[in-house]
Symmetry: C2
Subunit: 326 residues, 2 copies
DNA sequence: TTGAAAGCGCTAACAT
DNA sequence: ATGTTAGCGCTTTCAA
């Protein structure tokens, strides 16, 4: 029952609680024999400091929150790993929360992070405009967004240049002979969705192709949305000769639709898509894929966050990493 | 900076801190006018109680830890949802941690849960024998395992009857005419892997088929493991006429191997597998699938945990839910 | 270098 | 019904 306190250790080691605290925290101002006695007592009793009590004094915690819009998406999993590695190197640990792109859940978890006084939060916001991060910022808890931006750009962000990546993918499709490229867009509130749509338009323009409203269908970044959107697009007459899907899960859905229609790619129709999908059935070799350095995104986001936690002050920084077409 | 304390609220509302505390906690023992003044002050100041300070008094937190062996696996995602729903209904929130089947990571997160004094922990242990949950149990933090069991069965567990489900799947394959069923097993340390293997053997015996050592290959519950294991099995002479894969991710890998070999299922070879995979490319209709009630597993695990947290005492309970073959 | 004492923000006993 | 007081476990002055 964690009944062992610093006092117990102090008594056993025959020193004051303050000395135990010193041994535990700022290293070498304690005589060696005392230090040894304290360490022995700690081990013997199995003492573990109470982090709540410590926080009450120091206002410092070592837990970071990662609030993510869809944990199932391997995109995020790799990111989490990057963040964890950076965090644990600095003595921090990371807890995760899954919002399912749901603003209420997002708010609830932000509240948890605030209530628990987490040292900092990495967030992939479900909406660019409607956000609850003030709850954190008010209390001085730094926030870094990953992947997506926030409209009120007062926080750091780490991600890729979605506009350019999308544009390049379109150009690649055009090079492959496509002239009627359907685009499956993401949720209107998410900046990556807007950016990728904008890149799609740029790509068309750069290729001298007209933009056609009917060729753009919005999905929800989930499998089902991709499936439905692809079905809508494939009903067009004339049919698109390529599909550009703005995230990995929707791509799975789109592929299902194509299969249901008895269409093969790349022979019947060309595909391009955002995000790695090596985890699924080797679709990669048959389509144009935009890969993001997800591990690196997580790592850098965490390092930025740690600098903020350490008190560094600099204008909100936007780290833009390179996405690669392959 | 969260400088607003209960004292500030008390002063503004012109009451004592204790009254504010009472308003916040045990409802109706406060006169209505005071209560209103307090609520107004709280709102006006944007006061939020400091949960660490509260814990120091009450020894009660409202955060549950979910320590999961692979967050990417949709199996767990749905489980998390079940747990979250049950938790939030009771006023608890849930934080996640991903161990990647790595015992060190598992221990680290268990330490975090203990240090943060989480109210309880739901765990899918990476090993049945080597576990660190004593860190929790010693401190009186209840633990419920999901999916997998622990050898030292002193904690509650919610899962399915893996032995029976595996056996039924084998029988189903035999009914389809299979006589040489390859089995891709899971990591030796995980109880579900052992149970499923044992079910496989039972199924063979029940069908009057011999057990052959060469037909069993172990994987790691990840995609790559499935791919490699399937490759090994398909090299056998004579080739298996069916593959039974003991989890979903390995099934993806196995399917990749089959594709590489130019084999189709179910025409060339039959497949059976554990765990839902509707999220992937509609493999489901072409193989025998064992589905687990994942949401329900999470929900019941959480409810069990909440009862333990509430102080109920009963012998370690093993809740076995039904897996369905479809 | 070490110890004594105060106090972080809160709630539970005890008074009133 | 409300206020006063003490103390949860820790760290950090301040003294010695």
């Amino acid at each position: 029952m964690s009944r062992i306190t610093i006092k117990d250790v102090a008594e056993l080691a025959d020193v004051s609680p303050a000395t135990v605290s010193r041994v535990l925290n700022h290293g070498p101002t304690v005589a060696e024999d005392l230090r040894d006695r304290v360490m022995a007592a700690i081990r013997q009793l199995g003492y573990r400091p109470n982090s709540q009590a410590r926080f009450l004094r120091t206002r410092a915690t070592t837990v970071l929150g990662l609030i993510i819009s869809d944990i199932t998406n391997p995109f995020f999993t790799s990111m989490v790993r990057g963040a964890e590695d950076a965090a644990s190197k600095a003595g921090y640990s990371v807890v995760l929360a899954n919002t399912d792109e749901d603003l209420d859940k997002e708010r609830r978890y932000i509240e948890v992070a605030a209530a628990e006084n987490m040292a900092g939060v990495i967030l992939s916001p479900a909406s660019a405009t409607r956000t609850s991060i003030e709850l954190l910022l008010e209390r001085g808890v730094p926030v870094v967004t990953v992947d997506r931006r926030l409209q009120t750009a007062k926080v750091d962000r780490v991600g890729v240049n979605n506009v350019r990546a999308a544009q390049e993918a379109v150009i690649r499709l055009v090079d492959q002979g496509c002239r009627r490229i359907g685009f499956i867009a993401g949720p209107a509130e998410v900046t990556t969705a807007a950016d990728r749509l904008s890149g799609y338009k740029h790509g068309l323009r750069a290729s001298g192709l007209p933009f056609s409203r009917e060729l753009v269908v919005r999905g929800d970044y989930r499998i089902e949305g991709g499936r439905a959107a692809a079905a809508t697009l494939m009903r067009l007459d004339p049919r698109p000769d390529a599909l550009f899907v703005s995230n990995n899960l929707m791509t799975l859905g789109a592929v299902m639709t194509l299969r249901d229609l008895g269409l093969s790619y790349p022979s019947d129709i060309k595909l391009a898509a955002f995000d790695d999908m090596s985890w699924t059935l080797g679709l990669s070799d048959t389509m144009t894929l935009i890969s993001q350095p997800t591990y690196e995104i997580g790592r850098q986001a965490c390092e930025l966050l740690l600098r903020r936690i350490a008190g560094e002050r600099f204008p909100p920084r936007h780290v833009v990493l390179g996405a690669t077409l392959d």
